[in-house]
Structures are given as structure tokens and as C-alpha cells.
Symmetry: C2
Subunit: 239 residues, 2 copies
DNA sequence: GATTTGCATCTCACATAATGAGACGTCAGT
DNA sequence: ACTGACGTCTCATTATGTGAGATGCAAATC
């Protein structure tokens, strides 16, 4: 099997990272595991340490570094956003409302992808916008499946109640009327990661005049369909 | 600031990975972001693709690859195990019982670190052992802080009840008598990751004769102390 | 439809960076 | 005190990586 990428140094660095996947490793063990010359492994490992892709433990052994966790987090975000594009466009076009995806970030939620209704009265939420976890159907969805303590903590000062969150879990979606902003209604459903945990909320939002006082009745089915497509896409791309 | 590690190719590869942290990026954008020559970026990016550290999306743009998620997962495990060593030894010596750390893995829990009581009657659980999520104080702890649905699902066929799990959450620890194996008692407490989520359980286990029918009364304080030390160590090492 | 432009990919002469044998320093074991 | 194993460093050598320029392709423009 051809294991050469065309850049020898990167091939060797990859061997070092592969060896470290098994856990903390001394230089001698790395030499044995990679088959490379000792000074070569030493030099490459120090270069990886320099870039925080590798670090050293208290005994001087080499271990995988924190930068990998940072890059992996970004990689996970990439996958969600990649899957989101076509799904949000379809959701926007099917419902005629702006569509977004939110992720939790401490006491806030952040819009990581959106597709705006192009004309007329619309709810505009640019990517990067931070909104409250205390109001709105996306906040309900991001909170509804937290463990009991985190759920209770999140309810402090919230515009919704435990009964509302129980309804969200039962139906699989949430709706809100004028919670985050007067005159705005929204519907949200959970996006689950490969482990089954809720990692994001997919939403539509717009004026109450159009969405009515029962936005879920109008749009919950199609928003839930979008959440299933996204959940499935993330499950597949993790394989 | 000296940004040179002594291995130029690794320095350049790190620039490419840094640039990709912002999201999917065309070759032209990578050239601009890194300041490197176009064929150089092209060659390095293809080499990283070869090793799955990078991949390409449907539009041919470069994105961070799945291998990073795999390595990051291993890096996270490294940190927990690194922190566990001295804490489990101290826990074993203070209580005179065998000590372990468990992580959840679907319907099972896996022992990822252990310190055995060296002599006499003792509970031996080698690293790598898979045990049930339906019995034992570690299972209680790994389940107690799950969201409501996953908690209910986990309780199917379990040797403990919702009331027991409510007690675990209230006290911050769990205990069991002969649940996993007749004659064995255990005490467990949660280890939390930087996000506050329960990611592991720290436990002691041994014969009921020594631990009595109230093992928590004897040892809960010191097991909880160990769980705080571990949680704090993980919080610090993520900075 | 023809032409132009921008981008990705490839080639290869050449300069430089990476290699690894060997030396050196340190520390644990005997 | 001696030995062996390991990590770190040096530097002559050479193999690798570089990048200017060429090529191919597709989208944009006329």
C-alpha cells in the first residue's frame, strides 16, 4: 500500500502522531514505533511540540497536544456548517421564512449558519450573532435535553417554564411568540451529534403576522424534517 | 517572535492548518493566508489530505480532516489518564480499597485507569475491562446526569431506580451493594470535563465485609475529594 | 461562439533543508 | 566507580522541497 504523500517530512510527522495515539511515549519508543532515526524523531517531535500539536508530560514523554483539540473542534464545526447550507436554503424556500442554526456557548447561543428570506418583512440574524439562552424557541431546544441540574440552572430568569421544556421534549420541537423580540415568532428542532446528544438547534423565524400564534402547527413538521436531515448528515460524516 | 521550529516543512504545514481553522478555504485563499508559494501550498495540502489531517469539500475547498478528531479524542483520553495516576494511588492508599476510573461507551462502561489494593481480599478490574451500565455505583454516576430521555432509557433493566439516581445527584455520589457482583460494594463520584459535563466516574470497590452496607458513609468524602481533584486537573489542562 | 481571465495542477533545475552517524551529557542501575 | 540506556546536539552530505513557469480547465466576458 502506497503510504507516501509526496512530502517526506509530513509522512514522517504523521508516523509520529500515529504512534502517539496510543498514549504517552518516550523518544526510544517513538524511534521503535516509527522506524525512523533517533535524531530525526527527536527533531520532528520538537517541531510538533513547538506548534502545540504534541507536548511533553511530567516524565518528559511525548503526548498529543492541545492544538489538536482546538483544530478538531473547528473540524466538527465545519461539518455542521457544510451540512447546513443546502438544508437551510430548502427550509427557507419551503417555509418562506428566514432559517438559522444555533449552538450553545455558555449563557448565550450563537448563530453559526443562516439563510435569509430575501424580500419583505423578515427576521435577520447574521452569522456570528450572539443571542440569549433565556428566550426563544432555539434556547428552549438547546436547554430541553440538558441534564436536570443544568436544565434547572438554565431556567433561572428564562421566559419559558419547565412545562414548556417538557412539551419540547415530548413533541420534538419548540415554538416561541415575542420572547426574544416583540412581533417575532419562531420554531426550532434539535440537531443531534453522532452520540445522540443535542449539539445545535435548527430554526425558522419571522413576524407573528405571518407565522400566526401557532407557528408550530404551520411549520413544525418541515423544521423537524430539516433536523433529521442534519442529524443524519452528521452521523454519516463521522463514519 | 520566533515562529520557526527548526523543521521548515512542519512550520509551513502548521500555517496551512492554522488557516483552515477559519473554515473551508480555496487554494488561492490558502496562498494568501499563508504567504507561501502556490505550488508549495498545493503540495503540502495534498500531503495533509493523504494523511486525512485535511480533506476537500464538494466544491474542492480544503477543510480540516477527520483524523484530527480521532487524534483529539486520544489527546483528551491522555489528559484524563495522566491526571488519574496519582489520584487513584492516593485514593487506594487512603481507603485501602482498589480504585478505578470508568467512562461510558454506549451500553457499557470501560475501566480506563485503576490502582489495585496489593494484598488480601480485593476487587480486581483490569484496565480495558467492559462492565455493564445496568449495575454498580459507577453506572449510577455515569447515568445520573444524562438528559431525561437518555436517563429513562438507561434505567430499562437497571438494578437501580430513578429515586436512587435522584439521590446520587443530590449527594454528588453513588454507592452499590452486590449490584454487579455478589459480595462487592462500591462508591463512585462524577468527573466533569471543562464544559461541566460528566465524562467519567471515579470509584473504589471491595468486599461488603470491609466496606459495610453503608460504604458511602465510610468513603464518600474522600471519593468526592478525588473527583474534585480530577475535575480541576482537566479544567486546568484545557487552558 | 470566441476570447480572456482566474484558478488548480504539474514539471523540473536548483538551492537549501533535512538527514543520520557519531559525539556528548545525564541519570539510573549494578 | 563503572556501565548502559536514553535524550540531545553537531555537521558533512545529499536527497528533498522549492517555486518560476507551463499547462489545462472552467467560468466570465465580449
Amino acid at each position: 500500500m502506497d503510504n507516501s504523500s509526496g512530502v517526506g517530512v509530513i509522512d514522517k510527522a504523521a508516523l509520529v502522531l500515529d504512534a502517539l495515539e496510543a498514549g504517552p511515549t518516550t523518544l526510544a519508543q517513538l524511534v521503535a514505533a516509527t522506524g525512523l532515526a533517533r535524531p530525526t524523531v527527536h527533531r520532528l517531535a520538537l517541531a510538533l511540540v513547538h506548534h502545540r500539536l504534541v507536548s511533553r508530560d511530567m516524565q518528559g514523554r511525548f503526548v498529543l497536544g492541545a492544538r489538536l483539540v482546538e483544530l478538531a473542534s473547528a473540524a466538527g464545526e465545519d461539518r455542521l456548517i457544510a451540512a447546513a447550507g443546502p438544508v437551510l436554503l430548502q427550509l427557507r424556500d419551503s417555509t418562506g421564512e428566514s432559517a438559522q442554526i444555533f449552538r450553545r456557548q455558555g449563557d448565550s447561543r450563537v448563530c453559526v449558519a443562516s439563510a435569509e428570506r430575501p424580500i419583505g418583512l423578515r427576521d435577520t440574524i447574521p452569522v456570528g450573532t450572539q443571542l440569549t439562552m433565556k428566550a426563544g424557541s432555539a434556547a428552549q431546544v438547546l436547554l430541553a435535553w440538558e441534564d436536570h441540574e443544568r436544565l434547572l440552572e438554565g431556567l433561572h430568569g428564562a421566559r419559558f417554564t419547565p412545562t414548556v421544556l417538557a412539551g419540547v421534549r415530548r413533541r420534538g420541537w419548540g415554538q416561541s411568540l415575542g420572547e426574544r423580540e416583540p412581533g417575532v415568532a419562531s420554531v426550532s428542532a434539535p440537531v443531534r451529534g453522532p452520540s445522540g446528544r443535542v449539539i445545535a438547534a435548527v430554526s425558522i423565524s419571522g413576524p407573528i403576522e405571518r407565522l400566526t400564534r401557532q407557528p408550530g402547527r404551520l411549520h413544525a413538521e418541515i423544521v423537524c424534517n430539516a433536523s433529521r436531515i442534519l442529524t443524519e448528515a452528521l452521523r454519516k460524516s463521522a463514519s
